[in-house]
Subunit: 227 residues, 2 copies
Amino acid sequence: MNTLSYATEHAVTAADKTFFQLRRDIVEGVIRSGAKLSETDLAQKYAVSRAVIREAISRLETCHLVERKANVGARVVALSPEGLVELYQVRESLEGMAARLAATHMTDAEIADLGALLDSHFQKVKSGDTYYQEAGDVDFHYRIVLGSKNGHLISMLMDGIYHLVRMYRVQLGMAGPRVTTAFDEHKHIVQAISNRDAELAEMLMRRHILYSKNNIQKKLTPTQLKP
Amino acid sequence: MNTLSYATEHAVTAADKTFFQLRRDIVEGVIRSGAKLSETDLAQKYAVSRAVIREAISRLETCHLVERKANVGARVVALSPEGLVELYQVRESLEGMAARLAATHMTDAEIADLGALLDSHFQKVKSGDTYYQEAGDVDFHYRIVLGSKNGHLISMLMDGIYHLVRMYRVQLGMAGPRVTTAFDEHKHIVQAISNRDAELAEMLMRRHILYSKNNIQKKLTPTQLKP
DNA sequence: ATAGCATTTATTGTCGACAATATTGCGTCA
DNA sequence: TGACGCAATATTGTCGACAATAAATGCTAT
């Protein structure tokens, strides 16, 4: 499995498939940041009609991965240091709330599972498996967001924010020395949730994301962003 | 700017107009909560082709005002006590962050304007103008959200959450005795922003929204929700 | 009479063509 | 030579028709 498939991409219609394909290509940088999305071009390349391309682009707009202007067209969103900051501000806010809610809404079984996940993650980290560092982190956040049991929160993060976050990570070259400290932070968050301490869970999650932002931001020099 | 422009409904295309019209009709309850949105019916009623109806419905879906299932169709979102709670949880989270950011990002001029707005609001409240109670509240929150200078935050609230909030308010019969206390809360928030106290601004805003939720929730008995 | 299946009907998904708008390129004029 | 305006071109917006899928109806068999 080479893609981090957290969301099950169950494509039933052609527009679904095209949307998932386009989203992948944008996040992975196959379609460059800032590039124009010509409907006719894409229709040819993906061998579908313009209608399904328009549908797909429309959904990409919902994720904030592209921006569309009437009678002009759609462009892949531009990455910028300011954009990253704004993104992480929202993430801090929403995931903080998710942790707070998870502390009261997650079942004991779910919390136990989360603890087990963390243990397995710890094993992988010790063995130096860099892939699982990323995957483990994603899984962790995913579970807490789902644990909030709040549909709005879940869809905003899963369908929107996270893809943009991943786009920044991929296109700036991810992987960092923050793994072990991040793991400790995860552990403390789970502990707070396990203690049903909503207040603390939120605070720890917000700090965790703040640190994460600072870490990414450090490698973000304007020259690294290709226009 | 985006196709989903903030507040000002600048419709340039037919799909824009139809989208705004449909959104109004849904929020105001002209189209009942839970109702099915037949593409062919709407195309006839609004005198446009199915393509623009589909486009409009697609945008309504991003606002979370309708839910669509593949090969089945779209329905207006159902209102429920749980939905209201979830909605206000994300509102608390996002607007709290907005207040925090506004405290550092708003200009002195903007803060002064906000203070002036509050004064005028106070005059209207004293004279018992109930319409301005609602409008004033909306204005206040808009300004702070805009003051955050965070595009994601702004679009999430302005294009999404607020319309749903309004839908709940309208369809449950708005207006409450909370006006004067809410006004005091507004005043304290502005004071915190004026002092550039981001931490306090966030906390006060979160409490303000929490109180607001409790107030609405009190009149929300299951029988008031028409299925 | 009812459960299950086939057929019919209605609704959504997809397509290609045309209309409206923006962009580009050229020519003219100061 | 440069700037403005008009024509040519390309791209998006809109439309009606057809295809594919789901819902409704009726038929048959037990």
